[in-house]
Amino acid sequence: MRTDPSVGLETRLALYETMYRIRTFEKRAYDLFLSGLVKGTSHLSLGQEAIAAGFGEAMREDDWSFATYRGHAHALARRVPMAAIMGELMGRACGLMAGKGGSMHLTSVEHHMMGSYAIVGAHLPIAAGAALTAQQLGTGQVAVCFFGDGATNIGAFHEALNLAAVWRLPVVFVCENNLYMEYTPIAAVTAVPRPAADRASAYGLEPIVVDGNDADVVLETAARVLDRARSGEGPSLVEALTYRHGGHSRADPGKYRPDDEVATWLARDPVLRYRERLLDGGLEAGVIEGVERAVDDAVAEATEAARSSPPPDPDLLYRDVFADGGASWRN
């Protein structure tokens, strides 16, 4: 087992707390789908928590996150309040965007969570644009863009990677390779075994493949590529191997996956694994349980807050198409 001595206890606990928070929040969200309180669709990161946690921990507070529809985890890792996220999932007034975006578009500019994007590939060039701001204004910020394995075959991926490399933009592209797109295995539709890493050289980049279920590995990798970006050496492309425990979205039981594959990956559960590592490292169970209890309480509280929030003000339908606050297309 890896135990990087440079990662201190506080950081380790923070990583665990974030992963446990994501896990607990998403399980609750899933229950709420089943009970009909969350409508529409929703894409969980159960099993993929270590990536959001590791990067979240390594990022500077003003670094920007860009996520996909599978973005709850990243919002949580950036410490967006849970009640606001839960409220958004339920379409309530207290929602992060008052219900106007929904689960697939979680955004909190205040937390530098610059959006969740529901069209595969679109946010890669957008993240490059944020990095252009950082470069142009010399702010030292880095844009981190998370996406799935399936996104590596769409045009926007290619365009964004090339532009970012040519302009040496401070952006980190993180492919969360969970082996599947919606239902189709990525291997069935990709010309190379590693959908992201085997493309890195096409942009003059180093191929990086890491265990995305090990928060320490993710943290260390994140620190390295963020540093590279911040010091002006340009973008990186990281492929983090992981697995989603459930289906693609609310509607999907995920039955198309072989039992033994599921079993193998469940055995690599990033949250349980990390908990064990903490215990093995000598941390007292009571400390961990304390963290867990606090999270459990916070999730319950957030759920309650969301549940008791009214639906959004109908007037919001006509608000904020434009910066004047309105929707008028005529004078």
Binding site: G40, G101, G102, H105, G121, P311, P314, A327
Partner: protein, 324 residues
């Protein structure tokens, strides 16, 4: 007669055509093993095999480009764009290549292909997975545009689209997938460019499309209770556009209302209005009125989305207020 869902009607229509013509094939994301993101292509892989039912990468330009290249060389592909919002990532292939090639080549290239897509709102999917974009397609010369409202029309118009020598965009309204209807046994083949009068009335003409058809009918029933008798026309096809059915009705009623699921600006109702405001001006007894979603992106929350989409009561209110 079989009772089928709109969703099942899609598979029925594709099956009918793939059995008839071995050059028909289906390509798209998750259309094979998964049976489609909306379960509209269930069973097709098993029936026709992986050469004719092909799962693709997430690469809409590749999907549509491949469909075009295949169509120009002898196949009759049916391509799926999972959500019609994603036409935006392959719009060049659709609007600049497929639509224009026959014309630019002076008729040398024929493109018998169909692009099916899940269209429209009501599922709380938010602004990037809920658009009704049939009017985007209508604006492009060279495309035919179809949007059925019933299971039977799905089968018949899909068959007509596959057999048509021109590229046809076939919009399946997501909010209708679960609706049911009787579909005749045996081969069902319809005709593109023909509207259907689904209700007759002498006081107003309400023209609707896809999911707005049942809502317009509900509004008409409500109005009938108050003594206002409306004709409801299901347009079914935007290109070719059945102007004569609409014009004949306007001549009889003197009042035109359009009901569009799309945001207002430049929707198909605007085009239909402009045709009528020119050609049927002297038949009109009052303003032409459009009911559309407001000109905003669609919100995700159920409370807001329900408010955005034209409801039977909004339609009835509008008619009542304007011809009262």
């Amino acid at each position: 007669m079989a009772q089928l869902t709109y969703r099942e009607a899609v598979a029925r229509g594709i099956t009918q055509e793939m059995e008839r013509d071995p050059t028909v094939l289906l390509i798209g994301e998750d259309v094979g093993a998964a049976g489609g993101a909306f379960k509209a292509t269930v069973g097709l892989l098993e029936r026709f095999g992986p050469a004719r039912v092909r799962d693709t990468p997430i690469a809409e330009q590749a999907i549509i480009g491949a469909a075009m290249g295949a169509a120009m060389t002898g196949l009759r592909p049916i391509a799926e764009i999972m959500f019609s919002d994603f036409f935006a990532v392959c719009w060049d292939l659709v609007a600049n290549q497929i639509a224009k090639t026959r014309y630019m080549t002076n008729g040398q290239v024929t493109l018998p292909l169909v692009i099916r897509s899940g269209n429209g709102g009501g599922s709380r999917f938010g602004a990037q997975h809920s658009q009704s974009v049939e009017s985007w397609a209508m604006a492009i010369p060279g495309l035919k545009v179809v949007a059925p409202s019933t299971p039977t029309d799905v089968v018949g118009l899909l068959a007509a689209a596959v057999r048509d020598p021109d590229p046809v965009l076939f919009f399946e309204q997501k909010s209708l997938y679960a609706t049911k209807g009787e579909v005749p046994d045996g081969e069902v083949v319809d005709e593109l460019g023909t509207a259907k009068v689904v209700r007759q009335g002498s006081d107003a003409t309400i023209v609707a499309l896809a999911a707005m058809v049942p809502r317009a009918v509900a509004a008409a029933s409500e109005l009938a209770g108050e003594g206002i008798e409306a004709t409801v026309i299901d347009l079914r096809s935007l290109v070719p556009l059945d102007v004569s059915t609409v014009a004949a009705s306007v001549a009889a009623t003197g009042h035109l209302f359009t009901v569009e699921e799309n945001p207002r600006l430049c929707g198909w109702g605007a085009e239909l209005t402009s045709v009528v405001a020119d050609e049927c001006f002297y038949d009109l007894d009052g303003p032409i009125v459009r009911v559309t979603t407001p000109h905003v992106p669609l919100p995700a929350a159920d409370a807001l989305e329900d408010l955005a989409l034209p409801s039977p009561s909004l339609i009835a209110d509008t008619v009542r207020r304007r011809i009262g």
